[in-house]
């Protein structure tokens, strides 16, 4: 009896294994996209909007690190912060205070910069209606098997996003542009992330299929900035993108993190505003969508020395390694020589001292005027 059970087990193992092979092979051919694109836009001008450029560059950095090459990224920065004359450290844009992380780096290609970042150019890039002399690096050459990530940041309001302090794009225009892209088969799936005040209003009007959207705040709420750096003198990042960057730094090309994890980034306790998302137009379940489907360019490469017959059971192959091709890693950030920054408790201690001296001099009875 036992021998029969054992033999039965032995026979079923190769069957089970062949099922495993078939499901793996089935999964191999089931993903919908073949290439990845990213359009990253910063719409604000002037030195005090440093944080919007830092936001965009952090997403650029993550996207490049996870594999999307420069030729597939359209980066639009409305002003130059790195070589701005007010920048105490030229050719750098920092995202963390005390100058820990330089998101500008040494290998960056900005496609649209300065006055070129306009609503017209943005919509032309999305819809592909560019003049014939536009160079390739400024075009979004996506096809119907492309997954596109679109990231916008800047100042916005209920239903609009401000470009460079002189014009606006409305949520209806954006929805129509995406519909044009759908009709021209310019995307397979599209992830839209926006980090502005009242960002959720920008995705309310979408009506094309296969769109997923995330925003940093709901209608009526403001998105807040994270932390200022005392040496540079401006706020370095916005809260939502700061925590998004922290989340993305944990992601590597073989990671299995999915969209549900992305929706949990920056809850209200950290962000003060309530991030929102919209998945009703998206056909797959967000739990089955990998982060690297949009943020990375993961090529499904499987190296094998055997032929695999997909219709009939196969012998279990001896060694099978599924490799994902990694893009060359970007230069690691060495800890920089830190300038001295005053400790955070300094201001607090100073005020405590002032209050103590005050009450000592004038007596405790003045306490009722404070509280």
């Amino acid at each position: 009896m036992r021998i029969f059970a054992f033999i039965h087990l032995l026979v079923s193992i190769p069957h089970g294994y062949s099922n495993y092979v078939e499901t793996k092979a089935g999964q191999f051919f089931s993903s919908g996209h073949t290439n990845n694109w990213a359009v990253l836009v910063c719409t604000s001008r002037f030195w005090f909007n440093y944080r919007h450029v830092a936001n965009t560059l952090s997403v650029y950095r993550s996207v490049k690190r996870l594999g999307i090459p420069d030729s597939h990224i359209v980066l639009m920065l409305a002003d130059d912060m790195a070589c701005n004359y007010r920048n105490p450290k030229p050719a750098t844009v920092f995202s963390h205070k005390n100058m820990e992380l330089n998101v500008y780096g040494d290998d960056v290609e900005v496609d649209y910069r300065g006055y070129e970042v306009t609503v017209e150019n943005f919509l032309r890039v999305l819809t592909g209606r560019l003049p014939p002399s536009t160079p390739r690096s400024k075009r979004l050459l996506s096809d119907d098997r492309s997954n596109i990530l679109i990231y916008l940041t800047g100042h916005g309001g209920n239903g609009f996003l401000k470009f460079q302090d002189s014009e606006e794009i409305s949520n209806m225009e954006l929805a129509d542009a995406f519909e044009q892209m759908w009709q021209k088969r310019r995307y397979n799936e599209l992830l839209f992330i926006i980090d502005t005040c009242q960002g959720a209003s920008m995705y309310e009007r979408f009506y094309s299929p296969n769109l997923m959207a995330l925003a940093s705040s709901q209608v009526g709420e403001d998105s807040l900035s994270h932390q200022p750096d005392l040496a540079i003198g401006v706020h370095l990042m916005d809260k939502y993108t700061f925590y998004l960057l922290e989340f993305l730094e944990e992601v590597h090309p073989a990671s299995q993190a999915n969209m549900n994890d992305l929706f949990k980034v920056c809850p209200q306790s950290q962000c003060v505003s309530t991030p929102g998302h919209r998945t009703d137009l998206f056909q797959r379940d967000p739990g089955s969508v990998l982060i690297t489907d949009f943020f990375g360019s993961v090529r499904k490469v499987e190296i094998t020395k055997d032929t695999i017959n997909l219709t009939s059971p196969v012998e279990p192959p001896i060694q099978r390694q599924v490799e994902h091709s990694f893009v060359a890693d970007i230069s690691s950030q060495k800890p920089k020589q830190k300038d001295w920054h005053p400790p955070d408790g300094f201001i607090l201690g100073l005020w405590t001292l002032i209050l103590l001296v005050f009450f000592q001099t004038y007596g405790i009875k003045h306490l009722k005027h404070i509280f």
């Binding site: 040494d106 290998d107 910069r113 300065g114 536009t134």
Partner: protein, 578 residues
């Protein structure tokens, strides 16, 4: 698994005598060579000037008719080669500069450039539509260099008649094939350096280009990167033509911002890197240090026995040469770091320099003053001044005055092309004779135009830029310049072709101008709408009320206690309260 056999393919090679034979493929002998060089020159103000030059020389012809299209690129970058052949470019000069070259403190640069972006191109004489080619070329270059060169259009392009002669081979004297444009507002940052570095054969991985780290390069007083492409003669008799691509990067490090006040320099301090090897694809890789003022002014280590003399910019200078292709340059640590220590101060008097500024007040009129100084003690020489002013500064040429030593100085050649609104800028070229040891002032009055509200930039209160003036001159030289054409000349002294021994060619750029145009108040439409709506609401509303409102007397309802009391009184039958 079947093994793949790699076999050499048989290729039919078309011989020049017309016979075809198929033989095994042999690679053609390399017809291109690459040289790299770094010149370090301590400047008299205590700053230090580093000039990188990378030259690729390619024995081929993009433009010859009847020849097969070039398809194999080895050292010459393919992106530029395709641009040259597609747009039939004879010469291309593009530069991106951040900062202004201070001639009074630093002397003359090896390769001058104006602040912002400058592009000038000579097209081949077979081109029929030069303007169309120019427009497409600027767009393609904006994609290659990540710069907004697509803002170059007919409103800021000029065709100088005399100031920009071809620097390479070219009998093109027809200036219809020349186009010149400058974008003084253009910012230079790492995004321009990245594609520039990728054009080099070794990239930024080996050779002198490893020193180019953006965090140090942009923390400087002056930074300029340029690409110069021109056809040159291979030898003295000019039997064959070759294409030369020079990529230059000039940077001046300020001893206050980066040196912490101490006049002590090393390669590591300037670039935060040292050299470890030469580029393997380079036929020569050298570092020159200008030691003409050694030992009174500074000391240099490590010492080297190799010395070289060169006449450059009218002056005979001595250089210490470090050859990076030799292993002993790197010493035992396999790393090469240069150290310079300053000892004293000295003043400098360049022979030719210029300044420019805007005079006047208010937002309607103004005056442009260009001041040119000739510091030669006894020689007078002519200079060619080229001014390209945008159309929205309307120049009044009848107010143009040129004075030297408080006397009128009439230019011997004037080429003036007036501006056309929204179509063409002003172009003024004058040949002025500068008397010895004098100051010449050129003034012209202008009026500011009011632009249409859509033509203003998103930040109009910043101001509008006017590109630098260009002053080209053959300055008499104290030392005889060598007209010898040798391949072994260092790169920095062979950039400008020398036609005669007694003078050298110099190009001086003035400061760009920043003028404020009368700017409308862009919030006015919003204000007007608010005000009008308020006035209409208040006026019409009041009028409507007057006509249609009626008044009625209304008894106020008594309080609850009174109502209750009245109710009880009614039941009792007693008269009610008031």
């Amino acid at each position: 698994m079947n093994e793949r056999q790699w076999q050499s393919t048989d290729v039919e090679v078309n011989r020049s005598d017309g016979t075809k034979n198929s033989e095994t493929f042999t690679p053609a002998p390399a017809k291109d060579q690459f040289q790299e060089e770094l010149v370090i020159r301590p400047l008299h103000s205590g700053d230090i000037y580093a000039s990188f030059q990378f030259r690729t020389l390619w024995d081929t012809d993009f433009l010859q008719e009847g020849q097969k299209k070039v398809s194999h690129y080895r050292l010459f970058p393919k992106s530029l080669g395709q641009v040259l052949s597609k747009f039939s470019v004879q010469e291309l000069h593009i530069s991106f500069t951040q900062g202004f070259w201070r001639t009074m403190q630093w002397g003359q640069p090896f390769i001058p450039s104006p602040p912002g972006a400058e592009l000038w191109v000579w097209f081949h004489h077979t081109v029929s539509d030069v303007d169309g080619n120019w427009k497409e070329l600027t767009n393609v270059l904006s994609g290659i260099f990540c710069a907004s060169l697509n803002f170059i259009d007919m409103t800021n392009t000029v065709q100088p008649s005399a100031s920009f002669k071809p620097l390479g081979l070219g009998n093109a004297t027809d200036h219809r094939f020349l186009r010149y444009a400058t974008l003084p507002r253009e910012i230079v940052c790492t995004e321009n350096l990245t594609p520039w570095k990728k054009l080099l054969p070794c990239g930024s991985k080996a050779g002198l280009a490893v020193l180019m780290k953006s965090e140090k390069l942009f923390h400087s007083s002056f930074h300029s990167q340029a690409v110069h492409i021109r056809p040159i003669c291979q030898d003295e008799q000019c039997t064959s033509k070759a294409w030369e691509l020079r990529q230059t990067l000039n940077v001046v490090f300020d001893h206050y911002t980066s040196g912490q006040g101490k006049k002590e320099w090393s390669l590591f301090k300037m670039f935060s890197r040292t050299l470890t090897e030469a580029c393997p694809l380079a036929s020569s890789s050298k570092v020159y240090v200008d030691i003409t003022d050694n030992p009174e002014l500074f000391e240099l280590s490590p010492a080297t026995p190799l010395l070289s003399q060169a006449v450059v910019l009218g002056d005979r200078r001595t250089y210490s040469v470090y050859d990076l292709t030799r292993a002993e340059t790197f010493g035992q640590l396999r790393s090469f770091n240069l150290l310079l220590r300053w000892k004293g101060d000295n003043m400098l008097r360049p022979l030719l320099h210029a300044e420019r500024y805007v005079a006047g007040f208010g937002l309607q009129t103004g005056e442009i003053h260009t001041v040119i100084y000739n510091n030669h003690p006894y020689r007078a020489f002519p200079v060619l001044l080229m001014d390209s002013v945008p159309w929205y500064l309307q120049l009044y040429i009848h107010t143009l005055t040129v004075t030297s030593k408080s006397r009128d100085n009439k230019p011997s050649y004037i080429h003036y092309q007036p501006a056309k609104d929204r179509h063409r800028p002003h172009l003024l070229e004058m040949l002025i004779q500068l008397p010895p040891h004098s100051m010449t002032e050129v003034t012209v009055q202008f009026e500011r135009a009011l632009l249409k509200w859509t033509e203003y930039t998103p930040d109009p209160n910043h101001g509008f830029y006017v590109g630098s003036s260009v002053i080209s001159a053959l300055v008499p030289s104290m030392v005889a310049m060598s007209t010898n054409f040798t391949q072994d000349q260092p790169l920095f002294s062979s950039f400008v072709p020398v036609k005669e021994e007694s003078s050298y060619f110099v190009r001086v750029y003035t400061e760009p101008l920043l003028v404020n145009l009368p700017t409308p108040d862009f919030s006015m439409p919003y204000n007007v709408i608010c005000l009008t709506c308020t006035v209409v609401a208040v006026g019409y509303g009041s009028f409507y009320n007057l006509l249609t409102r009626t008044f009625q007397v209304d008894e106020p309802s008594p309080p609850l206690a009174k109502r209750l009391a009245n109710f009880i009184r009614r039941i009792r039958g007693v008269p009610l309260l008031a």
